[in-house]
Symmetry: D2
Subunit: 387 residues, 4 copies
Amino acid sequence: MAATGGRHFLQIPGPTNVPDRVLRAMAAPTIDHRGPEFAELVRELLPALGPVFGTTRPVVVYPSSGTGAWEAALVNTLSPGDRVLASETGHFATLWTELAGRLGLDVDMIPGDWRHGADPAAISERLRADTGHAIKAVCVVHNETSTGVTSRIPELRAALDSAAHPALLLVDTISSLASIDYRHDEWGVDVTVAGSQKGLMLPPGLGFTAVSDKALHAHRETAGLPRAYWDWTPILAANGGGYYPYTPATNLLYGLREALAMLAEEGLSAVFARHQRHAAATRAAVRSWGLEVLCADEREHSGSLTAVLLPEGQDADAVRRVILDRFDMSLGTGLGRLAGKVFRIGHLGHFNDLSLAGTLAGVQMGLQLAGVPIKPGGVEAALELLK
Amino acid sequence: MAATGGRHFLQIPGPTNVPDRVLRAMAAPTIDHRGPEFAELVRELLPALGPVFGTTRPVVVYPSSGTGAWEAALVNTLSPGDRVLASETGHFATLWTELAGRLGLDVDMIPGDWRHGADPAAISERLRADTGHAIKAVCVVHNETSTGVTSRIPELRAALDSAAHPALLLVDTISSLASIDYRHDEWGVDVTVAGSQKGLMLPPGLGFTAVSDKALHAHRETAGLPRAYWDWTPILAANGGGYYPYTPATNLLYGLREALAMLAEEGLSAVFARHQRHAAATRAAVRSWGLEVLCADEREHSGSLTAVLLPEGQDADAVRRVILDRFDMSLGTGLGRLAGKVFRIGHLGHFNDLSLAGTLAGVQMGLQLAGVPIKPGGVEAALELLK
Amino acid sequence: MAATGGRHFLQIPGPTNVPDRVLRAMAAPTIDHRGPEFAELVRELLPALGPVFGTTRPVVVYPSSGTGAWEAALVNTLSPGDRVLASETGHFATLWTELAGRLGLDVDMIPGDWRHGADPAAISERLRADTGHAIKAVCVVHNETSTGVTSRIPELRAALDSAAHPALLLVDTISSLASIDYRHDEWGVDVTVAGSQKGLMLPPGLGFTAVSDKALHAHRETAGLPRAYWDWTPILAANGGGYYPYTPATNLLYGLREALAMLAEEGLSAVFARHQRHAAATRAAVRSWGLEVLCADEREHSGSLTAVLLPEGQDADAVRRVILDRFDMSLGTGLGRLAGKVFRIGHLGHFNDLSLAGTLAGVQMGLQLAGVPIKPGGVEAALELLK
Amino acid sequence: MAATGGRHFLQIPGPTNVPDRVLRAMAAPTIDHRGPEFAELVRELLPALGPVFGTTRPVVVYPSSGTGAWEAALVNTLSPGDRVLASETGHFATLWTELAGRLGLDVDMIPGDWRHGADPAAISERLRADTGHAIKAVCVVHNETSTGVTSRIPELRAALDSAAHPALLLVDTISSLASIDYRHDEWGVDVTVAGSQKGLMLPPGLGFTAVSDKALHAHRETAGLPRAYWDWTPILAANGGGYYPYTPATNLLYGLREALAMLAEEGLSAVFARHQRHAAATRAAVRSWGLEVLCADEREHSGSLTAVLLPEGQDADAVRRVILDRFDMSLGTGLGRLAGKVFRIGHLGHFNDLSLAGTLAGVQMGLQLAGVPIKPGGVEAALELLK
């Protein structure tokens, strides 16, 4: 029997369920991007964006996906052949370094098991060994969307500091921003990369880079990769007057204004706490079913998503198909080396207790229908925690 | 801790959750209600509306609430002082007869306990006793929104027939149309009253009357109550050309077209089956909690809503408040003599398994938080049935 | 060549072009009409509605068309057989009295030529002759939508006063409210009737009655027509708590809130002045073409619409068809005895100078294409005035 | 007196007035970009996109502005130090070559007076002189948005052919696509660059490149510029399955589907003819006012916009300000060396005769109010032509 009626449950770890308020804000007529009304919009938006990144420094907004912001972070700060240190925490960490390689950077990837975050000790070791400071940047994914594992950014910052290494710290927060506590300035991050379609509750189409003074200095003084579309300099210059050097994605900016208003209404700390509660409740359900959460370190559980490891011999994508067909819910697939082995439950963005209960109910029934041997009671375990 | 994030769960028994498709359809620009594009809309809408009522006869659409359609059914068919027979099945049956009284009709109300539908035997008895045919109409609420109890219309029709009584049969389907199987023609109903904001998945603002040939005859030949706004004659005449005699609620009609398309895509029988499954799952949860469903006759359970009776001494409205505050879900209050004693769970309209699971999770947690003694496991019991 | 591309010009005298802000406001999810959020909406709306009517007394909002509000005004204040005095100022004045007749009222209609407003002298004469006070109400259409002629309400009030006649003064402002200066309290009107789809810039679906103390007194003490749906008493009682006695048209109320905010932002006096400018510019164009404006009294030109009289032998509807086909603009048809002789240009609601220029350009080209002999230069004459 | 009421007239040459149909389409919920429903969307969109470019070859869609598509055209086909031939036809031709320079290309710019399109003879001469085939690409802007002058692409193609020069032909159609006749395949263009916010009637946020086999060959065999985000290869590979290699701008794609449907409904040749009529009517008005159209060659008038040259000593931006303040209409400013000397009237996208009439009325009144000496009658001259 196929699913009928009611709203789709979009429980992939992004794009997330866009609030109707945001969709309606985006449906306003497009305006002249060189007129006074647009300038007001920019002057309202940019200051409201800083707190979400935990920064008082500039945030550059691009018409792009998050992948574009990855590229922007690199081409604005690095030169051809520069060495970049990274940790293989999962699929997206891998993709980012592949992109770096295609841009002509020399990537040093610390291997990983895709169940842990970036290892501060391993990074520290590489940095200390790099006495010639060949490493120009350390690239870390704050929240690995493919695994549901976070990296402990303050400890990585400490690793750089204790090694007295001048490399830039570049952090991908695509699936953590506005969902998991994050502090660009306080944690000494140089470039923070983000996208619109996760915790910011927007459709995809905007990429972001938050930029430290040190990153800006590298941008101006040393960075030699060719750059044009992504170039911070003309954007920051135009932003000063309330404009962009090329046509911005106006209607997505309307949505951004509305989404920032919603985050401010709820309060960022309440937003973070909500995500932690939902993540904890999800883990309670998973464990109650007798299944394993992919993340192997209690300090590194993601607040945004939970990757569920299936017993050997079970096909995670078959479970996802049953759930999509029967309950009209989309879950995240296993990516890269995790294909078929895990599915991922997104519990981020515009979300609440009852939607989580519905989500977990769908997962539980789908596991049963797909013949995965589980213990009953996962939903009740989650409710116990939510209550 | 107050509810934050995510969508509101509107689980009153109407207005129901309006699909975003319908809301977007309604956001189209208003057009000239005397122009050719409007005529096309009407010529598409009216034939598509018939099957939902189970009729090939006219359906009159008003800019009004369902209460307006109650009035329309009466003023179009009856005369001052006419006797009307009704059954006290709940709050809305009572309101309808009060309205009839205010219009100058003489109501004979068969008392009821608000836990059963209209009693065919009792009605039959009154009709047989009415050898002078003073009773001009029998008014029945198909699905009592205040109690979650349906009346068995075919048996009532049989009562009229076996008494060979010429009274008109007027049926309120405000909370059953497009949710619970209903057949205006086959069941010999004379006027079927409906509203937009329940199974039709629209915002409130449209009232409907489906009209049998017999009702139309009474309208033309005998009905003497003053009528103007509600008068069928000019509306039916104008409808022939694709118009209305006064400005119709154009944008709600756009929504109606979209909602009818959605019902047709799912198929009415699938829609009815979905409602029955959800109602059964809800009852499974309620009983698993050790609580009582208000409806006392297995043949009369509503597919649209379930009224839950709380143990003596518990305040149903306190439970509703906890649920609204903590889980951002609206449930129906106890009305009239049921105030404080029941709450009502709406599971009709644009709805699906996972939304029902979320709904029942909210009810379960809310009951616990409000201190109502329940057995755990209600949600799991519902999932067992949904699966 | 048929019209292609661009927005439709909806220049009938209502429904008017609904602002996209209002349409988006209406696309918000429907909420529980018995919940606290709805009560806040009502408590915000009703006080904001008063100034638009020029009243501090109650305004009753119905899910209905304006025709419903006509009926509401009558059934709430009058009794079967009551005499009502009216002026035949046009099609809608005629329809309102026909409706009154169908409700059992005894209408005394002062004949008119459909080119003038209600004649204060004629009304005064009837009232003075009515020494027995058989006349219970005077019904006047403030702005005749079929003719573009206004009636001078303060002079009519003076006629009642000088005759010391106790009749109620009932005024239809369906196509003048929020477009032409109007003052319910100051002018001593007893019931003001309005609809949503004209100056209020909403889709059709809401009817309004503003109610004086004297009207309320008649309602409570003497009015004997049967009433239920339209009954003020339960609505005013429920409004006190922020509710309605039956399901209100929630999404239209969202739109109303937005429309009232827009009117407040522009300022009512600026709104009225804008309509007067547009009406004057339209007349300048009509006269420059060598055509005649239907309204025959300079004191009575409508700010909302202009009816244009065609030379003998010309078919106004043929002109309208050409304009609809070629320029995708809807104009108002001639109604009743004016059929084929006039067309009506609506210039009310959400409208501005450039849209008026486009409108008049379409009329000018359409007249030429339809072969109506006109002098060129009408658009330029209007621009001269607008500039 | 400031503008009040009514819709803004967005008559810059892009972004253009987005149809409400498109805005509503974009307001649908975001879906899983790796799910079956998304794949269907892509499989429907891409084939429908080809005809608009006049191609049966691939069209690559980016989440980006048109500037991004400029970059994509270059980095996918060229190598560092490659020579690029261009014509200085205006501001955007200049910006594109500046961008090329920043990417490490060697630009040979043929000077121009900003009143003519690219000169086929001058280009032919350079190509013939380049016997060593150092020139790898010729970059031309089909419709210069800063000047309202088109370049004659077939003649430029002929110049390449007659010189038997292997350079790629890269054409910017940002402000001509879907407005002015254009044929990627027939005219032998190698990369066509476009954006969403002009003739495609969408908000900004999508960039496009249509790609010839020859361009694809260069991409695969010779192009050496670093590329990642813009890389055609992974996108074309993913498109085959109905997907994108990174998160696409889903909701803009919904809008694109709707806009393509609208173009198909009207028919592309009708769309082009409409733009030509509006451009001709605009020139008729400008000349009637006694002003000069910037475009100096009758063969090169733009169908999308008209740049109006003011008499010496007049400030075009002052005129624009008056028009924005008084008539709520945005016009395009003079860019680069034309600053203050011209203003630009956009008459492209979702537009019709009456909106053009309103636009020209606003320009005429604004010129008069700003004290620019003009002859009256421009609007009438345009109407004469439109009729």
